[in-house]
């Protein structure tokens, strides 16, 4: 018990004194997951719109599949990207395995389904009368899509925030394709909050783990705060 309290106090000291290791890991975590969220948004939001407005055979099944993939296990995504990027894999020549780029790719793939799915839900949440009004005002197909998205912007923003939350808190894919490397340069290291916590805990560096945990929790809180604020608009 004493060790935990001591670890907690030490953790606060690490955060307050802006410990370089803690800061570097936190910053890397945010950069990797934020980049993944940007890429995922660029794909998921337009794709969600096209799926929602499109009429094609198998649309219902596709949406069901997307919803099933919400709970895609992170290690499965990690394994998949690992196999694709490994020396013997089809993209091995890119030499991306164990780089932050590999982690960004894995996290993008991981959060795509939930962001596409929630974009579709966000658009479904727009009152049908809004859609009718836009059409009656003479909207083209593209204007209809763009303006309905505008109406759903807060719900879509919440989808993006949720995607970011899932990316930054996952550990399976990050450790498989990143490798939890602490190299001499910032940009070639792949140690992020979750992988670091996992390592430090197993090595007995409780205070380091707790400090990183607090940072991760704080980030999650900020994300949650953004979602709730946005949803009450």
């Amino acid at each position: 018990m004493y060790e935990i309290i001591e670890g907690f106090l030490e953790a606060l000291r690490l955060i307050i004194t802006l410990d370089p290791d803690v800061m570097a890991i936190s910053l890397r975590s945010i950069i990797v997951s934020f980049t993944a969220t940007i890429f995922a948004s660029l794909i998921a939001v337009p794709l969600g719109g096209v799926i929602y407005f499109g009429s094609f055979p198998g649309k219902k099944s596709l949406i069901n599949l997307i919803q099933t993939l919400y709970s895609l296990p992170t290690v499965i995504v990690g394994l998949l990207i690992f196999l694709l990027l490994s020396r013997v894999g089809p993209f091995g020549f890119l030499r991306l395995l164990f780089t932050p780029t590999a982690m960004i790719i894995a996290q993008t793939v991981l959060i795509l389904p939930i962001m596409i799915g929630l974009t579709i839900s966000a658009l479904s949440g727009v009152d049908p009368i809004i859609r009718d009004t836009l059409r009656s005002l003479g909207a083209t197909r593209f204007q209809l899509l763009a303006n309905t998205m505008k109406e759903a912007k807060f719900a879509i923003l919440a989808a993006v925030a949720l995607g970011f939350g899932r990316a930054i808190s996952e550990v399976g894919a990050a450790i498989l394709v990143g490798g939890n490397i602490m190299a001499s340069s910032f940009s070639s290291s792949t140690r992020v909050l979750t992988t670091a916590i996992s390592l430090e805990t197993s090595m007995g560096n409780i205070s380091q783990s707790i400090a990183l945990g607090i940072v991760l929790l704080a980030i999650a809180l900020v994300v949650n705060f953004v979602i709730t604020t946005v949803q009450h608009r």
Binding site: D127, I129, I130, D132, T133, L134, R135, S136, L137, G138, A139, T140, Q143, N147, K150, E151
Partner: protein, 358 residues
């Protein structure tokens, strides 16, 4: 000019419109009235190209608007629509009204001027930067009207535009409808379940019943000469009496359960008919003072109820058939009638409007 020809629409096998036909001229205000669920909204949505008919044709200026996609979009841009539920986009009032103009690639400066002008017309000048969602229902509906109007449509469609509004807002919207039609010559088609609104605003009324126009005519025609028993009931004729035509002494008379009523309408004996008599056209006199006159029906009876209705009383008399008359309180007092009083009910032959049954 809008031509409806046998327009049909089914949803999941249920027929909502079963062959609607009418002709609406340019610059006309046309009211679609009918009970709830009679397909009024569906008809307007078909005209606005929001749904596709399952049969028949809708032609605007001679063009079948549902025939090809390219043409459809061009035609859709000639029309504006206001929906029953006031709906605004989650942005400022000015941006709401600008949407249709932006779709058409109008320049910013022109948009600003048009939006300001439209807001002034609907009485919301100075509301530009307000959040549209914070407005009242009546204000939102006026924003919706401004938004539909600012694109200068040839045809303005309004689906029960005042159904959810307070009386003051209703009056404002009605005033705007008349003004838009008069000043801009816009053809207006609106639906309402309020027959008096139809009467107040429309040049022509179509009574939609059971998926068809039971009658299309001027408000006067519809209110005084309803085409069927159902229309008569819907436009508020209180006395509708079923009977059989009998020939009597060369003139036409109708036998309604033993009571004979003479009419001016040319009829063939044995025909089954309904007689429509507006309650305002009935006179009630105390039994002793009744006089018979040619061209007049006079029926003796007993007052069964006197029910206040606004500044009037509805006096119901059993003459073998039940007839209701609307009299002012003062008249009821002067006549000295009560429930149970013996009276005579009289009305002119031409006050009896006859419709065929079945």
């Amino acid at each position: 000019m809008i031509e409806l020809e046998g327009v049909r629409k089914s949803f999941d096998g249920k027929e909502v419109l079963a062959g609607v036909s009418a002709r609406i001229e340019r610059g006309e205000i046309f009211a679609v009235i009918g009970p709830s669920g009679s397909g009024k909204s569906t008809l307007l949505r078909l005209i606005d190209l929001l749904d596709t008919p399952t049969g028949g044709a809708i032609r605007i200026n001679g063009v079948d608007i549902h025939a090809n996609r390219e043409e459809s979009h061009r035609v859709q841009r000639m029309m504006g629509m206001v929906f029953q539920k006031p709906a605004v986009f989650n942005t400022t009032v000015a941006e709401n009204i600008a949407v249709g103009l932006r779709f058409r690639g109008i320049k910013e400066a022109a948009i600003k001027a048009k939006v300001e002008e439209a807001l002034a017309v609907v009485g919301l000048a100075g509301y530009e930067e307000r959040r549209a969602r914070t407005l009242s229902g009546g204000e939102m509906q006026r924003v919706a009207l401004a938004r539909a109007m600012v694109i200068e449509p040839e045809i303005l469609l309004m689906d029960e535009p005042t159904a959810n509004l307070d009386p003051v807002s209703v009056e404002k919207i009605e005033e705007l409808v008349v003004r838009i039609n008069r000043d801009l010559g816009t053809t207006i088609v609106f639906s309402t379940h309020d027959m008096y609104q139809g009467q107040r605003l429309a040049h022509l009324i179509g009574v939609l019943m059971n998926g068809r126009f039971a009658q299309v005519g001027t408000p006067r025609e519809v209110f005084t000469h309803p085409a069927s028993r159902e229309v008569a009931r819907f436009v508020g004729i209180e006395n509708i009496i079923d009977g059989v035509v009998v020939a009597s002494n060369g003139t036409c008379a109708v036998d309604a359960g033993g009571v004979r009523i003479r009419t001016r309408s040319p009829l063939t004996p044995e025909e089954l008919v309904s007689l429509c008599i507006r309650s305002e056209d009935l006179r009630v006199t105390p039994a002793g003072e009744a006089t018979t006159a040619p061209g007049k029906n006079t029926l003796p009876g007993i007052v069964t109820s006197i029910v206040p209705r606004g500044p009037f009383s509805r006096v119901t008399v059993d003459c073998g058939i039940t007839l209701s008359s609307i009299l002012s309180w003062k008249v009821v007092d002067n006549l000295g009638i009560r429930e149970g009083s013996h009276v005579a009910v009289s009305f002119a032959e031409e006050s009896v409007h006859v419709v065929r049954r079945g």
